[in-house]
Symmetry: C2
Subunit: 341 residues, 2 copies
DNA sequence: TTGTATGCGTTATCAG
DNA sequence: CTGATAACGCATACAA
């Protein structure tokens, strides 16, 4: 394992200069910088994180605190972040956050002190806490907000466009020929529920179908049981929809089961679309058409922003919000409505 | 932040002695040891992992390489391990393993070199590779095997008892009064499939029901679609079972859907039991009765064994296999069979 | 049984 | 713009 001394010798400079190059500091001649870079590459030099951390008190690892360990959203994000960190030659240090307990600031502080991470990925719902936002701002922690409800000056944010995705998914159903499309909404506390419903409504309105009424837009609450019962109700009506767009895959599965109970075959008699692309979406048959959240890309963007430490570009590249493109995953649960309808 | 020097001063000893106490080395008088311990507690001393790592080349972090990032099993294990590490004052460093690619040894070596972890949790299928086992043995890496197919001399293993759990779940159904109980098997390549089927058969035989024939034991392959189609077939027969025990929750959900399609209500007309306790098990309604794998306990045992570094006990405590008790989770999908049957 | 001194690979200070 | 040298907190050879 080559050390900074080996690099310095090879490049014919002092270790301090090597250190300067590593950290993208100014006050190094371009020619020198190039020579050092070359020596580093040739020796396959890798700075020792341990030494760095000992000296500066900061680890190069990236921290992420999450609240709900059982959420599919979080587990998939964890994996995507780990991958992104791996690609960037970093570690991911994850920690559990007790959302219900108070003292969010104290919890974050404890995590920071314990792990010494210099940068942080903030996920919902913590990313929307102004207390936490101010805290990382004043502590000088590099942070990014993942899917925040609204962006915050000084802290870059990465997210997908929920409203647009919902609009597109609904349009897909519309393009297939559906006119009566039901929507199973999420939980009112989640901003995503609102955005997804809005996207759905916009698509309906833009096709001249008018704003859908209560017979079409029913509460799902991101809850299987509620979605099941309300989907059953909606599908039992005389003017039942020929398609249902659920604001989450779990609720889409509920609609799926409701259809089964009522003897409606999917997708022939009822089209179903979901949102999230959780594992079960690919497990069931026919597989669920859904919106795939771009976890990998969101994670990569986050890590890229966090590891961008060229002090020169830092000022100019004042990124405040990166919107990552989603994917509409067309699988087996959507088809044109029966002619009889 | 207190350092080893502060502790030494406070205890009136040298830093070497503090170091000895920290690492549970011998050659320290009990009285001295106590004094040092007290000083550490009073100063809330926390050894710096960075300094340790720099000096010894080893991190105190615990490594875990996993193969299938989308598996519910793995994501839940990840979380449990993270929690267990947290409780033990350690980190978890996870890495992705490419099972399909060759050179398992090289992959492991790269991970070790990169992360410098001194201990390792080996999960399926890597834990069953003799090449990997020999490698960690000769490199002197502390390792534990999680749910291996068979134990290996020199490397402690932690697992649950799949056969016993399957037997108990089947007995639960038997106790309810069921006599014709179907079984959806897992994938033939997984040792767990075999064990779970065996447990089911033992329970049936022990109640004098004889060894179940092919009409009752059908392939599920840990695959939703296969399970769905075979469950439908099984439930369409004249002598259909009044209960189904699936070797995984995913397949249990398939049976659930098959029942829905055939107009069989759960649990009144068909009882269903699963295995794993994945999130969807609690999502659906009625919620699925299933076997909960003791992730938290398995993780804690693993970390305990890995961090047990008292050199005195190391020789005597030659643990080779720890079997962690599972839980039978009784929820809503199992009930006595209808009298009419 | 206990202590002293040295070095691990960085970053930072200050002098050139 | 560049370099010599002192820390950072711990483990360990070697002494006592």
């Amino acid at each position: 394992m080559a050390t900074i001394i080996d690099v310095a010798k090879k490049a014919g400079v002092s270790i301090k200069t090597v250190s300067r190059v590593m950290n993208n500091e100014s006050n190094v001649r371009d020619e020198t910088r190039r020579r050092v870079r070359k020596a580093m590459a040739e020796l396959e030099y890798n700075p020792s994180d341990a030494a760095r951390q000992m000296r500066s008190g900061k680890s190069r690892a990236i921290g992420m605190l999450y609240g709900d360990p059982s959420s599919g959203y979080q587990t998939r994000l964890n994996h995507a972040m780990m991958q992104a960190c791996l690609n960037a030659g970093r570690y991911l240090v994850v920690g559990l956050f007790d959302v219900a307990a108070g003292d969010w600031k104290g919890q974050l502080e404890a995590f920071l002190n314990r792990t010494k991470v210099e940068s942080l990925v903030m996920v919902p719902p913590m990313c929307d806490s102004s207390i936490l936002q101010e805290f990382i701002l004043e502590r000088g922690i590099k942070g990014i907000l993942l899917s925040p409800s609204r962006s915050v000056p000084g802290i870059p944010a990465v997210s997908m466009d929920d409203k647009k995705a919902a609009r597109e998914m609904t349009q897909h159903l519309l393009d297939l020929g559906h006119k009566r499309i039901g929507h199973l909404t999420g939980h009112p506390d989640h901003i995503a529920s609102f955005l997804r419903k809005q996207g759905y409504e916009e698509a309906m309105v833009s096709r001249g179908l008018g704003r859908p009424d209560e017979s079409l837009v029913v509460q799902g609450g991101f809850d299987f049981r509620m979605a099941l019962s309300n989907a059953e109700k909606m599908l039992s009506a005389d003017d039942r929809p020929t398609a249902i767009f659920a604001a989450s895959d779990d609720m889409a599965v509920a609609a799926y089961m409701a259809a089964g109970k009522l003897g409606l075959s999917v997708p022939e008699e009822l089209s179903i679309a979901g949102f999230d692309d959780v594992p079960i979406a690919q497990t069931i048959w026919p597989a669920l058409s859904t919106v795939a959240q771009p976890f990998a890309e969101m994670a990569e963007e986050s890590v890229r922003i966090l590891t961008e430490n060229d002090r020169a570009t830092q000022a100019s590249n004042h990124v405040e919000l990166v919107v990552v493109p989603h994917k509409i995953v067309v699988r087996g649960t959507c088809a044109p409505p029966l002619l009889a309808q």
